[in-house]
């Protein structure tokens, strides 16, 4: 059965368990800063809004990328990031209207692991079927 990531903000309690699950799934450590899901909270309203990559059809991050590192992955039907082509200019993080792209710069010195510079965005858990969401939307539009 194919899966897709849906978010119902009205049910969100702001607990951020999704960001923890995301970071530990991808990185093996609890580091919500690099989570591909980000939760924005308005405390005065008692409201939280989780956001992740919307898999835009006309993706601003792809349009702005000077090297093609951010690209349309046609086989998996998603927006994808190519580590080899990325020069770390961070334009994509500015272009994304949802704040869904995070640049993981030099980690703080208390981190034991090696220094790395990576751009992070939702890869839909790298499972091909999840790309359905975008395909469905394209279908709806046409």
């Amino acid at each position: 059965m194919s899966k897709m990531l849906m978010i119902y903000p009205d049910r969100c309690t702001g607990c951020q368990n999704c960001t923890l699950a995301c970071s530990v799934f991808h990185d093996g450590e609890f580091r919500p800063h690099t989570s591909r899901i980000q939760v924005t909270t308005w405390e005065s309203e008692g409201f939280s809004m989780p956001t992740t990559c919307q898999q835009c059809e006309d993706a601003p991050c792809v349009a702005v990328c000077p090297t093609g590192a951010m690209h349309d992955d046609l086989t998996m039907n998603r927006v994808a990031w190519d580590e080899v082509k990325c020069i770390g200019c961070r334009m994509c993080t500015l272009a994304c209207p949802f704040g869904a792209v995070v640049f993981d710069g030099a980690p703080p010195d208390h981190q034991v692991r090696s220094l790395r510079r990576e751009t992070r965005m939702c890869d839909l858990l790298s499972r091909q079927s999840i790309g359905l969401r975008r395909r469905n939307r394209l279908r709806q539009r046409s």
Partner: protein, 600 residues
């Protein structure tokens, strides 16, 4: 180190020096973190006789090893200091994002020393630690401060701050984080105010690591399933919040009413969780990593008490409600909002208002003392006005700002104050529930329910139902709950996870997070160690067995109406056995053998 970060901050606010120090594995294992670790540093570095509001007192913010992981509801940090309300060791726990964020920034703890010459706030972003001028935000409420500091530092930062009450040294001022989460009791906010520290803003981009994420996940899934399967942890708290307890306690006849004159309030349902869910609730809210979501995002539209924010939870609904003879949920919630905005503990605030009403009705104080306000039980508008006056530091509010004990004492009648060790008791009548009475009396920070929540077995039947009216077996029960809670607070978990989890589950989670083999026995022993250390601090501060008592009203004046009519608390039957089981002598002092056994 896994679980822990392995270093902490030491900041001298007087000289402005910041040091990063190493947390040794031995110390971490001995006290875990949070409350335990903070108490250890208080004991070794601070003279217990120190004036709590002097620069010599220290203020410690400490998170536990599980904080920052996705262990269920593991978001708690503690604020540890010598509390100004009653001069005991204070450890106030709070959830929200602050504790985990502190660890992501790379610190298990912050020790604050000295006093700044002018108002400042701290900005911690990973390795960058700055002491910044707070002249412009001094005097602002909690939401205003949070917003201003976030715009000046980082929109995603977690801000723990004091409100105007803390600046004004209201003795029960608290530290608020994320606007609606409070390190509520003992007046730790006043200590922060005395140091001229308005806020701590933290943003961390680092990680908390566990040795084996897969094994840890299994432990988390197992623990989460247990909480979700529990009737209280899984459903009751999410649907109705902690306020669900109003009707439960009232039906037992254990809901203290009108400053503990009675234990039954006929219209209690109007301020209960069911009414709250129907009338004011927008949606449940959770702290960081929480699967319980007892928080209440609420809105009051009644123009007289209009507002929006978080709460009320059970203790608050009781303190401003039945304890003051009030059944107006809008007014109760409004009083809660004021306390949140100004940074005050709702239990002490409400109980102090109830005490003032009691004094007024008995003719001890008159409208001359109360700025012309008639203080009769049941007067919702007068209650909200007194809360506002205390928050703003006006007239009679300045008296209330001292807490009920000092206020009643100043009129020559301290017996009207419903306190243990000068801290107001929360919403469980010890006359109807014997075990909780012993817990209030022996509590290391005075009247407090989150030091040993024997309500679980005595009232809620968790994990087994015990008769609340008998005293037999209660000392041992209290000790178990007190030790368990001390270790749990220190590990970074929320107390509500004990609706579903026992010591063995918590020890398992801790072991999976730290890579150490922490057994159930070791976990409970850590709790006992912390409890005894707190006791030692209090004894050195000048407290004694004479302070382990309940107000006379609870041992001599029976409950007047309701299911528990005619009952009093029989603490004398329990206290000697409690001392004996604790390994303390008859004067309540831990024996040498006890201390040696605990490694103290």
């Amino acid at each position: 180190m896994y679980g822990w970060i392995g270093r902490y901050l030491r900041i001298d606010l007087g000289s402005g020096t910041v040091r990063k120090e190493v947390l040794t594995p031995d110390l971490a294992r001995k006290y875990l973190g949070g409350r335990g670790l903070g108490t250890h540093f208080m004991m070794t570095e601070v003279d217990p006789k120190v004036d709590p509001l002097s620069p010599q007192n220290k203020l410690i913010f400490a998170a536990g090893p599980l904080c920052g992981t996705n262990a269920p509801s593991a978001s708690h940090y503690d604020v540890i200091s010598k509390g100004p309300l009653n001069g005991t060791i204070a450890a106030s726990s709070s959830g929200g994002l602050f504790g985990p964020m502190l660890k992501y920034a790379g610190y298990d703890m912050i020790i604050l020393e000295g006093k700044s010459a002018k108002p400042v706030y701290l900005w911690i972003c990973d390795d960058v630690v700055e002491i910044r001028d707070a002249a412009e935000i001094w005097g602002k409420t909690v939401p205003e401060t949070t917003e201003a500091i976030r715009s000046a530092t980082d929109e995603e930062a977690s801000v723990a701050c004091i409100g105007p009450a803390g600046e004004r040294l209201v003795l029960f001022a608290n530290v608020m984080n994320e606007c609606g989460r409070a390190a509520g009791r003992s007046g730790v906010g006043a200590v922060m105010g005395s140091k001229n520290l308005k806020a701590i803003s933290v943003r961390g981009t680092g990680a908390v690591r566990v040795p084996d994420p897969k094994a840890f996940r299994e432990a988390v899934v197992k623990a989460s399933a247990k909480i979700k399967a529990n009737s209280v942890g899984g459903k009751g708290l999410k649907n109705y919040g902690t306020d669900v307890l109003v009707n439960i306690l009232n039906e037992l006849g254990g809901l203290p009413t009108r400053n503990f004159l009675d234990g039954y309030f006929p219209t209690a349902d109007k301020v209960g969780g069911e009414s709250l869910a129907k009338q004011l609730l927008i949606r449940p809210r959770g702290c960081y990593a929480c699967i319980i979501s007892c928080g209440r995002a609420t809105k009051v539209t009644n123009p007289k008490f209009a507002g929006q924010g978080e709460g009320p939870e059970y203790e608050t609904a009781w303190a401003f409600g039945p304890d003051c003879g009030i059944d107006d949920l809008d007014a109760v919630t409004k009083a809660n909002y004021i306390c949140n905005d100004y940074g005050m503990d709702t239990i002490t605030m409400g109980s102090s208002v109830a005490c003032a009403m009691n004094l007024f009705e008995n003719g001890v104080i008159t409208t001359k003392d109360t700025d012309g306000i008639a203080l009769n039980f049941g007067d919702a508008e007068a209650m909200v006005e007194l809360v506002r006056k205390t928050a703003e530091g006006e007239g009679f509010g300045k008296k209330l700002a001292l807490g009920s004990y000092r206020m009643a004492e100043s009129y020559g009648h301290p017996e009207y104050s419903m306190t243990c060790k000068k801290q107001e008791m929360p919403a469980y009548d010890p006359r109807a529930i014997q075990g909780i009475g012993l817990n209030f009396a022996t509590g290391n920070r005075g009247g407090c329910h989150v030091r040993g929540y024997t309500i679980s077995p005595e009232v809620l039947g968790q994990p087994v139902k015990l008769d609340p009216r008998v005293t037999e077996g209660k000392p041992a029960l209290d000790i178990t709950f007190q030790d368990l809670t001390a270790a749990l607070d220190s590990s970074g978990m929320c107390l509500f996870t004990t609706f579903g989890l026992g010591a063995e589950d918590l020890a398992e989670l801790l072991s999976a997070a730290t890579g150490l083999n922490i057994t159930t026995e070791e976990f409970m022993k850590i709790g006992a160690r912390i409890w005894n250390l707190e006791r030692l601090f209090n004894l050195k501060a000048g407290l004694s067995a004479l302070d382990d008592k309940l107000p006379e009203r609870l041992t001599k004046e029976p409950i007047l109406t309701g299911p528990s009519k005619g009952l009093v608390n029989r603490i004398d039957e329990m206290l000697p056995e409690y001392y004996k089981l604790r390994g303390w002598d008859s004067a309540g002092i831990p024996t040498k053998n006890t201390l040696a056994d605990l490694g103290l």
